[in-house]
């Protein structure tokens, strides 16, 4: 699938990502966590060719990423951004159907029956089928984010890159989005990489965690291995308490703020 070896990305003189390696496996979800400016989103954007590598290499299905065309990458790697930018009115169906772009013929590219079928399936999968005729900007935040996820799922890409997909959502909608990602990874040969600020959410849903700071990968492994009080203190510079979640057993991180009373 997607393998990054010792990748370094510079913004001008500033090093944003420094010698980070990562391998995504089918059926697995990897979370990237770390403080602001750690290089998480840069990492994500580099992995689908959105940013140029300064050093290192990325390979996709055994071939260098750079050897793929834009369309070929889009068939294999889908990105879910934080929010859609909606200045023109489009329906949910049209929006999600846009995810089939890479599969259509160049030029006019009228959608085929297969594109439409795939879109309908994904709308059902994401429980948006009853809203398919509605305009995107009439939806609630949670519904809209589900549509953004649906557009990524309809590409049938084997790699899903999600950049803080739940940042603006309430608890229930956060769970829905991540459950959908989990479901896709369980049912197909799909792997997901999720950038998030929510350590506890990462601990719950991910199989692996990559902890980043100042562009470097500090730790990589299962949530239990990575989310230790020592490592977290080093990375976030805040004292934390780590215990087991009473229901799921996943590590639970609670910051201990030493504020004056």
């Amino acid at each position: 699938m997607l393998i990054a070896r010792d990748i370094t990305v510079n913004y001008g003189d500033r090093v944003a990502v420094s010698r980070v390696s990562l391998e995504l496996e089918p059926h697995r979800i990897t979370a990237i966590i770390g403080p602001n400016g750690a290089g998480k989103s840069t990492m994500l954007r580099t992995l689908n060719g959105g940013l140029k590598l300064t050093a290192g290499e990325i390979s996709l299905d055994g071939q260098p990423l750079a050897s793929f065309s834009r369309r070929a990458i889009a068939k294999r790697i889908a990105v879910v951004a934080q929010e859609a930018d909606l200045r023109f009115p489009v329906t949910v169906f049209e929006f999600v159907l846009g995810g089939r772009y890479a599969w259509s013929a160049p030029g006019w590219g009228w959608e085929t029956v297969r594109d439409v079928e795939a879109t309908k399936e994904v709308l059902q999968e994401t429980q948006l089928d009853t809203l398919s005729g509605r305009l995107m900007n009439e939806l609630s935040g949670g519904e809209r984010q589900r549509a953004v996820l649906a557009r990524a799922l309809v590409t049938n890409a084997a790699v899903l890159l999600l950049d803080e997909p739940t940042a603006n959502l309430d608890l229930a909608h956060q769970a829905t989005i991540l459950a959908l990602v989990r479901q896709r990874c369980d049912r197909r040969e799909t792997s997901a990489l999720v950038v998030t600020h929510d350590i506890n959410l990462a601990a719950e849903f991910s199989d692996y965690v990559l902890l980043m700071k100042d562009g470097r990968g500090v730790a990589f492994g299962s949530p239990e291995e990575v989310l230790t009080p020592e490592t977290l203190k080093e990375v976030f510079e805040v004292k934390v308490l780590v215990d087991a979640h009473p229901v799921s057993g996943a590590p639970r991180v609670t910051p201990v703020h030493e504020l004056r009373r």
């Binding site: 889908a78 909606l86 023109f88 890479a102 259509s104 009228w110 879109t119 309908k120 005729g133």
Partner: protein
């Protein structure tokens, strides 16, 4: 349930819709075309005119009427149509590319770029007619490039920055236009002022042919990029992620739109607001799919400018208004409305 039924075959539905929309607009365009051929300082009879338009010789039109129809009105209507196609599709292209419903060749300074190009051609290569569209195209392209570079901030070109950059370039080029105008003799200034406001009366058959050709090329190129524009309209980064070669599409659309604006300005000056009014009405009526918006804007734009020009040459006949005055009269209030609604 109904929405699901409707969306079941969206691919074919979009195609059928595009076809249907184009058929209806083509019919409207034909009606406007014929109506415009009939009215004017001298009214022509419907049956004979239709007969003559289909290419028959013996239709009962006097030789004077034939001359009016074929030498005066027809070229002008064709030019109006071509200008409408050029400006409306260029507007639709800019709006999708810049993700701004207010983007328009005039607002972006592209038309002024083309106008300066045309004026330079007139001053320096006055006798060579082809130099006008070529220089106009170069001017439009240069203005587009400068506006785009000015607008590009660290986070890319935001629509707001772009419009501001357009205002700056427009103002700058306007002073250039004033400068060139002052170098002209007094008799030419009046016709220039007219031309600057958009004037379809002073064209030649070769300029008409060039404008029609540019319209055809520009529309085809934009239409071929329409699906990519559908995605770019919702954000360049998202479009990139979904497989659009954003850089290539951007350059292609900028060049095609500059060609359209250049050809139109070279032949008829600055007809304003067509690129704003037409795509807006099209989107309001038929939705935002650019495959439909671009084709429909071409047809509706042609009908709109033909109609506006017919009004311009008949409303205070035998005197004429510049067509740009009519389009601005309709366009400016719509612009205010769009701005208020944002």
């Amino acid at each position: 349930m109904i929405t699901q039924e409707k969306s079941a075959n969206a691919g074919y539905a979009t195609f059928r819709k595009a076809f249907g929309v184009c058929a209806v607009l083509l019919l409207i365009l034909l009606i406007v075309f014929v109506a415009a051929a009939l009215v004017g300082s001298q009214r022509l009879p419907l049956a004979s005119t239709l007969c003559a338009l289909t290419g028959q010789i013996d239709c009962g039109l006097s030789s004077e009427q034939r001359a009016i129809l074929f030498d005066i009105r027809l070229p002008r209507i064709l030019l109006a149509g071509a200008v409408g196609i050029c400006l409306a599709t260029a507007g639709a292209g800019y709006q999708a590319l810049l993700r701004n419903p207010l983007a328009e060749p005039y607002l972006l300074g592209v038309s002024n770029g083309a106008a300066v190009g045309t004026m330079v051609a007139l001053v320096f290569f006055g006798t060579r007619e082809w130099s006008r569209p070529v220089m106009a195209f170069a001017g439009a392209l240069a203005a587009t490039f400068v506006v785009y570079r000015l607008a590009r901030g660290r986070a890319g070109a935001t629509p707001e920055r772009l419009i501001l950059a357009g205002v700056i370039v427009t103002t700058f080029l306007s002073s250039g236009i004033v400068f060139i105008t002052t170098m002209m003799d007094a008799t030419r200034i009046r016709s220039f002022t007219f031309w600057l406001l958009g004037d379809l009366s002073g064209t030649t058959s070769s300029l008409l042919a060039i404008t029609l050709l540019a319209a055809l090329i520009g529309v085809v190129v934009l239409a071929l990029n329409a699906r990519s524009l559908n995605l770019m309209m919702l954000g360049e980064r998202d479009a990139f992620d979904l497989g659009v070669e954003v850089g290539r599409v951007r350059i292609t659309v900028f060049v095609a739109a500059s060609l359209l604006v250049g050809a139109s300005v070279a032949s008829s000056g600055s007809v304003g607001y067509v690129g704003l009014v037409v795509p807006h009405l099209v989107r309001l009526t038929f939705g935002s799919d650019n495959r439909i918006v671009i084709a429909a804007s071409a047809l509706a734009g042609a009908a709109f400018v033909i109609l506006a020009d017919t009004v311009a040459r008949t409303i205070i006949a035998p005197r004429e208004l510049p067509v740009g005055a009519i389009t601005a009269l309709i366009g400016a209030p719509l612009f205010v409305y769009l701005l208020k609604r944002r």
